[in-house]
């Protein structure tokens, strides 16, 4: 198991190199001249040329790539033409917000989805089953940004119990901490006032994001539980007097988790890449907003940086999912 983990970690390196190449190539092949855009409409050819040199865009592509990769390793991810700040710093500012949002959404989806899916399978065609089926249909069919708008309408305009948008009110000082994730930082600091504010801001965007994974996890869990319940070993366990509770929560649950795990892993990365709509609706200062801005101003470095970070998180998530398979299913245990 340890050997397998190590091997998988080493395999990450060539994957990352390939990834940087692809991302770099795509960004350079895009039409349009970012230098002209950055220098402004009234710039003389001389100014444009000096800006081009400043960004190193006058060199050949392999040279640019090499400079980029060596920089990456040293934490120099280039400079954003738009914000004029190092990309690495920008990403470190925006990443925690996105991670917080995605983690909260996945937490809601998992904590609600697994028990509801189990219940729907056990009480098939009962109240819970119909209820979750309806929620699932809505959750999959409704676009996230539209759901976000509906939530704002309901909880902000009508009920007026939650803030409209943003991550933290401008007049308050956000909690300081090592992670940059406000909820965790305020818990670490024991600052319950900040935690309440952070959670209030997090609630709507996280819920808007969670509905689609929640729907899928619920349905997946239901389907696999029903399948497992029909297996022969469930009959044996029943015939030998094991209680229904134990059969369901111990023997069936672990079997049913395997396929749900795949969905969870896929959704983490899918949400990471797709935060932009929700972040826009809720004005959430995350990677999605940052990336959109960069794309609109043809700003290479942030686009590459964000893509790289999301891809890296994707690779790590998939590795974790693969390792968890072994925990849930001994037949795929690796050596």
């Amino acid at each position: 198991m340890i050997l397998y983990t190590l091997r998988r970690l080493i395999l990450l390196i060539p994957m990352l190199i390939g990834l940087t190449m692809i991302v770099f190539a795509i960004a350079r092949l895009l039409p349009g001249d970012p230098v002209a855009l950055a220098a402004g409409p009234n710039a003389t050819p001389d100014v444009i040329e000096s800006v081009r040199q400043e960004f190193g865009l006058d060199k050949s592509l392999p040279q640019q790539y090499w400079a980029y990769v060596t920089g990456l390793v040293q934490g120099d991810w280039g400079v954003s033409i738009f914000t004029r700040r190092p990309v690495f710093e920008d990403i470190m500012t925006f990443l925690p917000a996105t991670l917080e949002l995605v983690a909260a959404a996945m937490l809601i989806a998992i904590v609600l989805g697994i028990p509801l899916g189990l219940a729907a399978a056990v009480y098939r065609n009962g109240v819970v089953d119909y209820l979750t089926r309806t929620v699932a249909l809505g959750g999959i069919a409704m676009p996230r940004f539209f759901l976000g708008l509906l939530l704002q309408l309901m909880f902000v305009s009508w009920l007026d119990i939650l803030p409209l948008s943003g991550r933290f009110p401008l007049i308050e000082i956000p909690p300081e901490g090592p992670t940059g994730i406000y909820t965790i930082d305020s818990i670490v600091a024991g600052d319950w006032y900040s935690l309440t504010i952070a959670l209030q801001h997090l609630a709507l965007p996280a819920f808007a994001m969670s509905l689609s994974p929640l729907a899928t996890i619920m349905r997946m869990m239901r389907a696999s539980t029903i399948e497992v319940l029909q297996q022969d070993f469930v009959m044996t366990e029943r015939a030998l007097g094991i209680s229904n509770t134990k059969i369901l929560f111990k023997y069936v649950l672990k079997n049913a988790m395997t396929s749900t795990l795949t969905v969870i892993g896929l959704y983490v990365s899918w949400l990471l890449g797709g935060t932009v709509l929700v972040e826009t609706v809720f004005d959430w200062p995350g990677l999605g907003l940052y990336a959109t801005q960069a794309i609109l101003s043809q700003d290479f470095m942030p686009v590459i940086g964000v893509t790289l970070v999301i891809a890296m998180i994707y690779l790590v998530t998939m590795l974790i999912v693969d390792l968890l398979y072994g925990v849930f299913n001994p037949r795929v245990r690796y050596t």
Partner: protein, 294 residues
């Protein structure tokens, strides 16, 4: 007291197309020390009779029209679910057909054995060699010890180590031994074995049958062996009941029934077994069809 006394059992099964009566007045008595073979074609109602004894047919699909199943004098058809659970795994052990699908693939066999032992121990601590009213910590310790002992008894080498293995690390025959250990760990008085050797190859079949036979002889318990293999009946059963379309056509001592079958159906069944002298292309089947339930 009679161990198992099935009287006039009538069962119907529901499906989308309606209700079909499957069992028509089954009568059967099983005493301690007797090994009853129930033979018949697929669909004749043997398995449903076996499942009925542990009342494992969901009420939504099966309905008992008449009759009773008395286990040690108590009618299980009238018992509550809690009472039934106390019988299952403790007083009544069950073994099913396919050892590859009847063990939970993602749990160690030790976990599965210990859970059954614990359940039986809760119902009656003496099963695990403890005084009545033993603490749950003692029960757990004893359950683990008994699990290893039982595994050793059914012939798994290095039982203390193998208990930590997963089902896929065992061969088919070994898995069936594990399932027998699970069925017998609660020291049941009645064992229901539903085609325990059908999925195994012939050489392993004989070993498994011998194992069941020895355990039964040692503990003097009653057995209901459901099979469609008359060879199995001839090898280990003391009595046999022949079923056809939900009825028992003929019953009695194995020696009598197999040597001098009185019912035409039994004669046809015996004749359909191919022997070394059967000519090519001369296989004899049985006519008629089973009632449909789908």
């Amino acid at each position: 007291m009679t161990l198992l006394d099935i009287k006039n059992l009538n069962l119907s099964m529901r499906s989308f197309e309606g209700e079909t009566q499957i069992l028509h007045g089954i009568d059967l008595k099983v005493e301690r020390g007797e090994i009853w073979g129930m033979v018949g074609e697929t669909g004749s109602g043997k398995s449903l009779t076996g499942l009925s004894v542990s009342r494992l047919i969901p009420p939504a699909t099966g309905r008992y029209l008449a009759g009773s199943i008395e286990f040690e004098g108590r009618d299980v058809l009238k018992a509550g679910e809690k009472e039934m659970r106390a019988l299952r795994g403790r007083k009544i052990g069950m073994i099913f057909q396919d050892p590859t699908t009847n063990l939970n693939p993602v749990f160690r066999i030790g976990t599965q054995l210990v859970d059954v032992a614990l359940h039986a121990g809760h119902a009656d601590p003496t099963v695990l060699g403890l005084e009545p009213g033993a603490s749950s910590r003692d029960l757990k310790k004893a359950a683990k010890r008994v699990a290893v002992e039982m595994l050793d008894k059914v012939g798994i080498p290095k039982a203390a180590e193998r208990i930590h293995d997963y089902p896929h690390q065992f061969s088919g025959g070994m898995r069936q031994r594990v399932l027998i250990a699970m069925a017998m760990i609660g020291k049941p008085d009645l064992l229901i074995a539903d085609e325990p050797t059908t999925a195994l190859d012939v050489s392993v079949q004989a070993q498994i049958l011998k194992l069941i036979h020895d355990l039964v002889a040692e503990r003097n318990i009653g057995v209901l062996m459901i099979t469609h293999n008359l060879g199995v009946v001839a090898q280990i059963c003391s009595h046999v009941a022949v079923m056809y379309r939900g009825r028992i056509l003929e019953r009695g001592l194995v020696t009598d029934v197999l040597k001098k079958p009185s019912h035409v159906y039994t004669q046809a069944l015996l004749n359909s077994i191919p022997t070394a002298h059967t000519k090519r292309g001369e296989l004899r089947g049985l006519g008629g069809v089973m009632p449909e339930v789908q």
